[in-house]
Symmetry: none
Subunit: 120 residues, 2 copies
Amino acid sequence: MNHEAATAPTLQDQTLSLGPLELRLGDREALVSGVRASLTVREFEVLEALTERPDRVITREDVYGRVWGGRMPYRDRAVDVHVKRIRQKLGAIAPNWTFVHTHFGIGYRLSPEAVDEGQQ
Amino acid sequence: MNHEAATAPTLQDQTLSLGPLELRLGDREALVSGVRASLTVREFEVLEALTERPDRVITREDVYGRVWGGRMPYRDRAVDVHVKRIRQKLGAIAPNWTFVHTHFGIGYRLSPEAVDEGQQ
DNA sequence: AACCCCGTTAACATTCTTTTCACCACTGCG
DNA sequence: CGCAGTGGTGAAAAGAATGTTAACGGGGTT
């Protein structure tokens, strides 16, 4: 006998998958290839913001607005620094994948791409 | 995470299509046959300016005014240089298409044209 | 208090973009 | 044909944006 009906997926349990990347929105956990990436809260939020439109460019201002709220102060580097750490942590788990792409002068784009191994 | 602006109706997603060319105005991204052309911001803006009246000639002065604002300095080559790189990038993706046409002494005209393969 | 974690900030390094210049090819005309 | 103006192109110089590291400081914990 099973009681599956009792465990209907609530929004909190929602997970989002993009290639080897998996975001558990409810408990703010990110997994890469099933491995915990141990992102901090801010890091997770930035990554989640990029998730709004996967494979599309999201401006720095947009990320800032979604995570911190309000306008991004002139020359603020908070977004960059967090992106750097996100890349670092995800990259440590999946070295031949690239997740966050820079769009110079605009912002970032999240789309997991396998790196060609021929160049290692 | 701040969700105040989360689901704002981003009509920035507006895209413009001309033959195999697709401009995502909001993201400032240009695609050719679905492939990202990775134009820089200026390059995109110049291309966008030519888009104002597709298939019609647009003067250099006009392009300059729309992208840089103000009058074009005497003998300024900025527009030309950017057109050159636009052609280069678009051409790399779709070798048998021509997008930007020169009108001597006047300016440029944007209209994607397939090149007859028989002449190669 | 001492410690640790995290977010922020500042400073410097690096990479990418834009501008500028020089040289040459091409056009149109006398 | 030769001249003058215009556009194509490559590359250096100048300028901006992003990458990266480390220090600082607030909170919470021991």
